[in-house]
Symmetry: C2
Subunit: 444 residues, 2 copies
Amino acid sequence: MYLSKLFIPILKENPSEAKIKSHQLMLRVGMIKQSSAGIYSWLPLGLKIMKKIENIVREEQNKIGAQELLMPTIQSADIWKESGRYNDYGEEMLRIKDRQGREMLYGPTNEELITEIFRASVKSYKSLPQSLYHIQWKFRDELRPRFGVMRCREFLMKDAYTFDLSDEDAVKSYNKMFFAYLKTFKRLGLTAIPMAADTGPIGGNLSHEFIILAETGESKIYADKRIFEVNTENFKLNDESLNEMRKKFDLYYAVTDEKFNKEDFDKKVIKNNHLITKGIEVGHIFYFGDKYSKPLNAFVDLQGGKKVAVKMGSYGIGVSRLVAAIIEAKFNNNVMKWPLSVAPYETVIIPMIKKNDNSNLKKAENLYKELKKNNIDVLLDDSDESLSAKLKKFELMGIPYQVIVGEKSKEDLFEFKEIDKESENLTIAKIVNKVISEKKRIDL
Amino acid sequence: MYLSKLFIPILKENPSEAKIKSHQLMLRVGMIKQSSAGIYSWLPLGLKIMKKIENIVREEQNKIGAQELLMPTIQSADIWKESGRYNDYGEEMLRIKDRQGREMLYGPTNEELITEIFRASVKSYKSLPQSLYHIQWKFRDELRPRFGVMRCREFLMKDAYTFDLSDEDAVKSYNKMFFAYLKTFKRLGLTAIPMAADTGPIGGNLSHEFIILAETGESKIYADKRIFEVNTENFKLNDESLNEMRKKFDLYYAVTDEKFNKEDFDKKVIKNNHLITKGIEVGHIFYFGDKYSKPLNAFVDLQGGKKVAVKMGSYGIGVSRLVAAIIEAKFNNNVMKWPLSVAPYETVIIPMIKKNDNSNLKKAENLYKELKKNNIDVLLDDSDESLSAKLKKFELMGIPYQVIVGEKSKEDLFEFKEIDKESENLTIAKIVNKVISEKKRIDL
């Protein structure tokens, strides 16, 4: 893609309305545009990143055998009355009357709807376990939407639901999701700590939040530093190994303020290992047993004919929020670097274009063709800005690899720079090789 | 995928509430489930097909240089008041009040919002042309939703919008979309005829509907048969060739009843070439000039400083509707055959499993591994139903290639059948080869 063709409204200054760095950056480099309070359009650059995140989330769900379906955004109030949550749910639920006067709502979550889908078709213990997920827009009518897509009203989430016959089986399903979450966040270049969480209004008795560390986070966290040393590479997708994995994590104290108890913390963690900071919640998993299956009548027949309410869990990942969360984690000292797995482009070519001299642009175009030929997703900045203005811009756009075609490039050598590292002069072949081998390493 | 693992609630009988064959089939083989009037959940089988359609639509938009972005589902009423459509739009618009009492709505279309995005960032003629699209759920509060996803309330559409400096340039953009539409429908295995259409309440002066023939269609159509003879392969993505293409199509009379004029029809088309039938609208393109850019103030600066309202067009494809439309076109004599490009699975393996004899299942599992190894997306029916029940089921599911592991298979030969064709006995290698070469042919 040539920058001049890309629909990317870049701002000269940080927008004053944005309070945190992800919100500033996303507006500044034209990733999003607010359309009304807490509701955003995703412009090409932002959408491309979000789609890559969505796809990694999807792949890791598929790997553990979860199946994708898609529930609608608009739901009938009826099933919410059946579960008893229609009145309990506060003003955050966007309630709607259709032209016939029927009570509808924009789904803030989907336990009711998925349970209804399940109960309509699954009748026997033989069809269990089931693990279903969808990736869909949700709406929560926040009183004070803020921080851009971090706390907005319309947002994209992956929500999975598992159905099992017994608590014991359900924990196995829970552990699989726990595993998938660790792998997902790792592929996104994030270190997410699973933290024992309060089960909150959604109910149940086993729950973890996945939190990434960030000073701008809304969750206060208290942890044993050593939790970072757990090597998730050691675990495999089988019940025994996943059980080991859970035990390993349970060894270390890690909670948000909701569950925090000072006495407990001091007793279990020596002062030296205390980690007290803030974080951003990017995932949340719950086991809630028959909380919904009982009122909604989701029973299956056992072998003898006895009926039993299925045991359910729900598992969320904030897909649109992750775009901002990655920025909070990776945007430091005014330099952004997207992990290659979700980068909007894999490489940018930055020619220094002088008046009446397009020789660098010509070289850049050749380079562009060569990288394209090797399936590298590349952006070429064909604008007539000064080189320093271009370099400044790309420190914000965060494309991980740059090829600068300027004074340092001569004959067949070009200045190649990985953001945050020293530049070196390389041939086209070496540049291609570098990018391709890194893509292979992370399995792109 | 093993059928026993797939979440696919198959019904024994056609559901009585469904009046047309696509609606019947989609419920019958567990592609969708109604959640409330005119609102559906997409189950794994249906979603997989829809995603493939969505992706073909996306690829063809990208090929003509359109850029993807994503506008939200919920919009503020403000910009609709600015364009003057808030009051004009009838009860089909789902109007919502949020907790602050602000007037919102679930987008039934996006001319206002895209114009607002455009005007906020594009200021100069130098940035034109622009072609932007999104694929998003829309809501129209139909008084009588019917025919399943064919006329439902929440539906998935691709909507593109083009912005040009002059009518002349705008026609070039229009022709590109016309071309992309022909290619899109062709890849979906459909013959869609472009028909001169009434511009309707959306306004403007140049418009085509893309219609596929189907007796269950809601549009009555009148055409010159010879329009089917236009070979779209002859045209290329450049202004001149596309101009030729448009002229070619304009030679032949083809309109829906809105534009129909009997005298005109009889004069322009000899009796023998009369085609009077029904069809399903799967796409619609409009050129409407400055209808929205003027009231919404989307002006750009010309070279001398003069300002001019940009010329806009809009271009829709009904993505979720296409799932049903393909069924209407391809489901005949109770046998469905999905085009390979959008098939839920590329091949199904159907072993005849007898009690106390799992030798066929074993063979089927080996076959499965072999096909998987060759990147063929394969389903294995490991259920204990009778072979005839299985075959009947797969006539409905419409997976284009079947491998039947039953009495006719011996040693290294298996019964291979393309739906609608005679079966033949082939080795695994030959089967793999057949499927792969067909995938290559259609560029999968």
